[in-house]
């Protein structure tokens, strides 16, 4: 009874505080054990704006982001980086929002027409590139796609009579490092207090998988709208059972302790997923929310009684039952030469329910896709290995443009229960101008992996998630508020691929130009000669002698003689030059005398 009263009071105070300060700031760290005994730590910092109008006074909502939204007329934005690959088969579904290896950027932009939207997008990519010290500008050059079916908006569009379109770009070779973290950290109101103090670059970038991202959404509840900025970081620490049983402190994971509390944070929580494990918490949490797979011990870090340095959890008994991965997706490349290849994306559904899925491939222009070769084969898993005909609901295909835009493939189909589908097609590898190749051309070029969006209205995949929380809501919000829907769809990314492209010889542009022009001149000069001159038959009479030509011959003979003389005397060129200089000096002397 007291608890619920307390909650009501808390909410009331929260509302009051909101009314006073306008913007709200919440922070949350969720820690979850993955099936391989690795630990997933997911930070989420949420800033809610006061109202629909951003500015001109800014309290907590970062002015940088607000001005970007206003100047580019953005309805929704997501920018995320990931270093390493999320192992779907070992770790379960990706944390939502899912992030591909490298970086990706999604923006819903309002504009008068498509070209206006494209212009805004180019500016947006460049400004984000500058802000986050990244190298994603290749998106605006040739990696911009506008998929039609796969991406759905999570927020609400502002009605301003303009058309809205989505733009998507992914850069698989982007790497994530400290220089990206620093500007990201600067967006948040607390820069060195609170949960953010745990983000020690030395420890989080020494792991196998780490992500960083932010999204901006416009949310509406009964005509009152506000903007929400979610800044999130996920890190997977490779630990083992012994370490888990020895006890985990913040210091063990982050090599750093929590430094103080963030005073402007409305809430600051630590969630540790308990699941079916037996965990000793010290100090013991006030409450354990949820049940089954998604049960969490919740610590309120703003609680003054809690000693932040002493939070420790020790795994007593680990739930060893390995859950079969529900969804698997990976992309492989076939072909032995640099001329062409096949791309095969295998999608596995081990779940008992069939699902409607959308597969999206955004492939750079240097992969020239043969549309006629696109095919999908499905097969039931298990003993029978029976081939089934996939039910393709809709297709969208957009061809690539050379040096301008990537090709987009979107296939929506029904993925049958316990089945495996293979989506494959052939492509030619394009030849590029030598100035378009990256410095290390023989390494090859990266192509982004496929995105698979799985509709899950029945909530069958809910228990395959390592943590709660989705694109909009944080884990705690989903935990305490069961009316918030489970995410209706999940997205997973397959691995990026490295395409080895045919390369020209970079060392000889001048040679090529000279050779080709020589060959062309071999055609032009005789044609010119024969068409502008006349062939005569002289009656055996030799015409007058050409003195000029004879002079040239004499000169050539002289040169040959000189060369032979130099060869016989074993003279080097410098000797010859010296002798000639001496000769000239003598001549000069003679002249002056």
């Amino acid at each position: 009874m007291w608890d619920s009263n307390g909650l009501v009071v808390l909410i009331f105070v929260g509302c009051l505080a909101g009314a006073v300060f306008g913007d709200r700031y919440n922070e949350e760290l969720t820690i979850s054990r993955l099936p391989t005994n690795a630990l997933l730590a997911n930070f989420r910092f949420t800033i809610d704006s006061d109202g629909d109008k951003l500015g001109p006074d800014y309290h907590l909502f970062p002015r940088l982001v607000a001005e970007m939204i206003k100047s580019h007329d953005i309805a929704e934005l997501e920018l995320a980086f990931a270093q390493g690959r999320w192992r779907l088969d070992e770790w379960g579904l990706q944390t939502q929002p899912a992030i591909p290896t490298g970086a990706h950027l999604i923006a819903w932009i309002n504009g008068k027409n498509e070209s206006a939207i494209d212009a805004e997008w180019t500016n947006l990519v460049d400004s984000l590139n500058g802000i986050f010290c990244s190298s994603i500008s290749s998106i605006s050059k040739h990696l911009t796609a506008s998929p039609k079916q796969t991406l759905k908006m999570n927020g609400v569009k502002k009605e301003n009579g303009k058309m809205m379109q989505v733009r998507y770009g992914a850069v698989p070779e982007e790497s994530l490092c400290t220089e990206n973290l620093t500007p990201w950290r600067k967006l948040l109101p607390c820069k060195s207090d609170g949960l953010i103090s745990l983000l020690n670059p030395y420890s989080i970038y020494a792991t196998t998988y780490s992500t960083m991202g932010l999204n901006v959404i416009r949310l509406c509840q009964e005509k009152t709208c506000h903007w929400r900025l979610n800044a999130h970081i996920s890190v997977v620490f490779e630990t083992n059972l012994e370490a888990l049983e020895a006890g985990i402190l913040f210091d063990t994971l982050f090599k750093r302790d929590l430094a103080g509390r963030c005073s402007v944070a409305e809430s600051s929580r630590l969630l540790i997923r308990k699941g079916n494990d037996e965990i000793d918490f010290s100090p013991s949490p006030k409450s354990i929310h949820g049940e089954g797979h998604h049960s969490y011990a919740v610590f309120d870090l703003n609680d003054k009684d809690l000693d932040l340095r002493k939070i420790e959890f020790t795994y007593k008994n680990v739930d060893a039952s390995r859950r079969e991965p529900a969804i698997g997706i990976f992309t492989v490349q076939g072909g032995v030469d640099q001329q062409s290849g096949t791309l095969k994306t295998r999608i596995i559904n081990s779940d008992r329910g069939s699902k409607t899925v959308t597969l999206m491939h955004i492939l750079p222009w240097f992969m020239r896709i043969y549309y006629g070769s696109i095919q999908m084969k499905c097969q039931l898993l298990g003993g029978s290995k029976e081939n089934v005909i996939p039910a393709v609901l809709s297709k969208n295909f957009k061809e690539s443009l050379i040096r301008t835009s990537p090709s987009t493939i979107e296939w929506q189909f029904v993925l049958l229960h316990e089945s495996m589908c293979e989506f494959e097609f052939e492509f030619d590898k394009a030849h590029m101008r030598i100035w378009d190749y990256p410095p290390d051309a023989n390494h090859g070029m990266y192509a982004a992996g496929a995105l698979l969006v799985i509709d899950d209205k029945e909530g069958r995949l809910h228990n395959h998630r390592p943590i709660l929380g989705d694109y909009v809501n944080s884990a705690y919000e989903q935990l305490v508020n069961p009316t918030l829907p489970y995410p209706l769809s999940y997205s997973v990314f397959s691995n990026p691929i490295l395409v080895s492209l045919p390369v020209p010889d970079f060392s000889m542009p001048f040679n090529v130009i000279c050779f080709v022009l020589t060959v062309v001149s071999f055609c032009i000069s005789p044609v010119l000669r024969y068409t502008t001159s006349m062939i005569m038959i002289t009656d055996g009479v030799t015409l007058e002698k050409n003195r000029g030509r004879n002079l040239v011959r004499v000169l050539l003979l002289g040169l040959c003689g000189l060369a032979i003389y130099a060869q016989v005397n074993e003279m080097s060129t410098s000797d010859i030059r010296r002798k000639i200089e001496e000769l000239f000096r003598k001549l000069n002397d003679m002249g002056s005398m």
Partner: protein
């Protein structure tokens, strides 16, 4: 007027003397009057019964050899299609994006799925071709192969008749023998066989081109103009053959009529394509824009792909203009020199098209190769025939090898393939230049010394 005659080297003189000697031995062959005389004598002899029997036998032999040619060519094509289709269809010297069967397949699939093929720039094939193929797509593949073999037969027959017509028009001897040779030369040419075995669109375009050549030789104004319009519509560069057609027709009335028919054909075809493409001109930038801008740098046997992969960006547009203007300029210039020898102008234009078009294949070369027997009468002036033949054969052999070295085994780089394709083009260019040289020499000879009695020495008098 300055002369360069005096400075000729001794070896040249010796060569000249050799030519004279050679020519003397051939005097009988080349003299038209003599030939006619010889024919008369021969026809008198034929009256003999024994000779009549012989003639019948030779005819039998000829028909036998025709059957063998057709059968052999067909079997070779079927074998190539059955066993090395995958290998051949990946060879850049046989298929470019403009004629590739795989691209056609993609285009047809897009058309059937309602995806606009011309939004991107992968499909470089005209809408009418896509629509025609989408109609016959459900037919089994062997039907298509049979159709391709028939098209090749048609092309070979047109070449044969064209050569025959040229020989008759120029009063050359043995028209039938050389025509049969042209037929074999075309139908059994390994390059033709490979081109049709991979179902390349070039086979279709070539059959149209050879039909045009036949109509040209027969002076069929309307047919030639229409065919030229069609073929120029599909592969653009043969439009320069209109210059040959002009100098063939000579009178202003005929030229304007043919121009009108040509323009009508082009406009009609364009409208049909425009309508088939949903009243949109989006196909133009793919089908013709790509030919002119060379954005797709897929290697081929031409000289341009590597050049435009390597050229510095600021000079790109300049060289595009230069290279695209070479072909029409040369054909135009040659038209003044060869205005009395339209067949040779046609032959040289065909060679230049095979060299200077943006995306040439071996298929461009086979048409002029089929017509080469018409240089038989002027062959005595040849300068490097053996060298050219050897270069051609060597390059055709080395191209797939260097391609494999570059693309598959990685033991060679792009320069190997480029060097071989460069020499291949050099051989073709020298072939064209030599034909021009031989023709001019013969003309000079006939005009200046028809009796062949003077002691002669051939000099080039330069005007500047």
């Amino acid at each position: 007027m300055t002369s360069s005659g005096g400075g000729e080297s001794r070896s040249d003189k010796r060569k000249g003397a050799g030519e004279v000697r050679k020519r003397k031995s051939c005097t009988l062959d080349t003299e038209v009057a003599d030939v006619a005389q010889a024919d008369e004598i021969q026809s008198k002899r034929v009256k003999n019964d024994e000779d009549g029997v012989l003639k019948v036998r030779t005819r039998h032999k000829k028909s036998n050899s025709l059957v063998i040619t057709v059968l052999g060519g067909t079997i070779l094509r079927i074998l190539c299609y059955l066993f090395i289709y995958d290998y051949l269809s990946k060879q850049p010297q046989l298929s470019t994006p403009f004629v590739s069967f795989q691209r056609l397949q993609s285009g047809v699939a897009m058309l059937k799925d309602g995806v606009s093929p011309y939004d991107g720039d992968t499909i470089l094939i005209q809408p009418i071709v896509l629509h025609v193929f989408s109609v016959i797509w459900s037919a089994p593949r062997w039907v298509l192969l049979t159709a391709y073999i028939f098209l090749d037969l048609l092309a070979a027959a047109s070449i044969r008749d064209a050569v025959q017509a040229i020989f008759k028009e120029l009063n050359y001897k043995d028209p039938d023998d050389y025509a049969a040779m042209a037929f074999k030369f075309y139908f059994l040419n390994p390059l033709t066989i490979c081109t049709s075995a991979i179902l390349s669109l070039a086979t279709i375009y070539n059959s149209l081109l050879t039909l045009f050549v036949y109509a040209f030789c027969k002076s069929a104004l309307v047919t030639a103009s229409v065919l030229l319009g069609v073929i120029a519509y599909f592969s653009l560069y043969p439009i320069v053959l209109v210059i040959s057609l002009w100098i063939r027709l000579r009178t202003f009335k005929k030229i304007s009529a043919s121009l009108g028919i040509l323009a009508l054909t082009l406009a009609g075809l364009f409208y049909v394509n425009y309508a088939l493409n949903g009243f949109s001109t989006s196909f133009v930038k793919n089908c013709y824009g790509m030919l002119l801008t060379l954005d797709d740098l897929t290697p081929n046997v031409g000289v341009y792909w590597y050049f435009f992969a390597q050229i510095f960006n600021p000079m790109r547009v300049f060289y595009l203009f230069v290279f695209q203007l070479i072909l029409p300029t040369m054909c135009l210039v040659l038209a003044f020199t060869l205005r009395n020898d339209v067949h040779f102008h046609l032959l040289i234009s065909l060679i230049l098209i095979a060299v200077f078009s943006s995306y040439p294949t071996h298929a461009d070369a086979v048409v002029y190769m089929g017509l080469l027997p018409i240089i038989n009468e002027i062959r005595i002036y040849e300068r490097r025939q053996l060298l050219l033949i050897c270069t051609g054969v060597t390059c055709a052999t080395f191209l797939p090898i260097t391609w494999h070295m570059w693309m598959v085994s990685g033991s060679g780089n792009a320069n190997y393939f480029f060097a071989v394709s460069l020499f291949y083009n050099l051989a073709q260019i020298f072939c064209a230049v030599d034909i021009l040289y031989m023709k001019l020499m013969r003309d000079a000879h006939v005009v200046m010394d028809p009796q062949r009695k003077k002691k002669i020495d051939i000099k080039t008098i330069e005007f500047f």
